[in-house]
Point group: C2
Chain length 240, copies 2
């Protein structure tokens, strides 16, 4: 069986402390630069670069160039799922950690969380999906755009997206969600959207971690403005 060595190869890549740190730093779907990852792993940029190259070779990471930065993220949802499997295993061995708390919190994390300065999770993906099919926005790696219809929509919401001319490279970018397969909205638009949600009290940050919770008012507002039913979305996620 040739898969044998392939598995060993993958596991060996994951099984080096520096690389483990790198991968875990990316588990929530964010894309970080090479130097940020070097810092996260506590190693020098050259060493990090070598690790990153290896992880890329094995397709455990994906990369996109962005000026003089290189943004790395997990190569596929299966990679995230592998890491979770490991987390689950060591949690089991510990037996000190209460399995009750990680369970629900994990579900919440998958549903809505912050990813840097924008929203991520099932909810964020649903929103991106909706806005795209309504032709409000156009997500693209090299900047993306907001249509006139979209600008009016965001104006009604009171979301601050910057001047229309400002649509630079990081304006309305997709950001791959690891718990879903689809992208959510990053960039200036994603950021403005989260600020708006927070200011209007639709969502709230948890005191710790990156979990975001939807308020009662938020549930009503989101179904009104976006046509997204929070309760049904939650159910759909739980079934999956």
């Amino acid at each position: 069986m040739p898969t044998n060595n392939q598995i060993a190869e993958v596991a060996a890549l994951v099984g080096e402390p520096s690389r483990t740190s790198i991968l875990l730093a990316l588990i929530d779907g964010r894309a970080l630069t090479a130097s940020e990852l070097a810092h996260a792993a506590g190693i020098s940029p050259p060493t990090a670069s070598e690790h990153l190259a290896r992880l890329m070779d094995a397709e455990l990471l994906a990369m996109e160039k962005q000026g003089r930065h290189r943004y790395f993220r997990l190569g596929s949802p299966k990679v995230a799922s592998l890491l979770e499997s490991m987390l689950s295993l060591v949690a089991e061995r510990d037996a000190t950690v209460s399995a009750i708390r990680t369970g629900p919190r994990d579900r919440d994390l998958r549903f809505a969380r912050s990813c840097y300065d924008h929203l991520a999770g099932s909810l964020a993906v649903a929103i991106a999906d909706r806005l795209e099919t309504m032709e409000m926005i156009d997500l693209a790696d090299d900047g993306g755009t907001v249509s006139e219809k979209g600008q009016a929509f965001f104006g009604d919401l009171g979301a601050e997206l910057g001047a229309a001319g400002q649509q630079g490279r990081r304006y309305c970018r997709p950001c791959l969600d690891w718990s879903e397969r689809r992208p959510h909205i990053a960039g200036r638009v994603g950021s403005g959207l989260m600020v708006c949600f927070l200011e209007r009290g639709w969502v709230k940050r948890q005191t710790e971690g990156r979990v975001i919770s939807v308020t009662r008012a938020g549930e009503r507002a989101i179904v009104e403005h976006f046509g997204i039913d929070i309760v049904r979305l939650r159910e759909r996620q739980d079934r999956a």
Copy 2:
């Protein structure tokens, strides 16, 4: 985060070709001896012994002494699940393998398979469960027993379990199932049971692999003798 190093430790253990071979050889829940594993990994007994000791330390393997042999098996279902996660990842990268074939076959494998000389999988676990609650058998690591009621039952079935006095150390042993959490029946009784099932045409071996399929006649017979509904059991498995 201290879990970081723990994950690296686990992954590093899995990420060594010889150890990978050892773990994969055990993925179907069988328990193999040290020398069998040495042979499976293509290494000398001393080297295997060292690997096995490490895997034991990390609780990735469980061991039980049996005379001058030591039987090793996976430490918990989560270990199997981790390995599966890896298999799934490399399968994704390959893109050559048809994902269609592994899907259903995998489900069948979880439902009923051979494990050495006895049955394993959901069905086998259900049978063990049933026979134990009916007080037909008593599963125990050091041999186990078959009650008088059980002997009559197996007699009716026409299953050959050897003379009653023969109840040695490997008579009615539990064998941990990786796809379920519960044990199924190994030893003389488990073996006799599978022979009986095959002879009466209740189940059939697939031409390749360890998959066992239940025939139409088998479905009727099993619900009659064991009170186990194959269709509902399959449904329950698919939901999980």
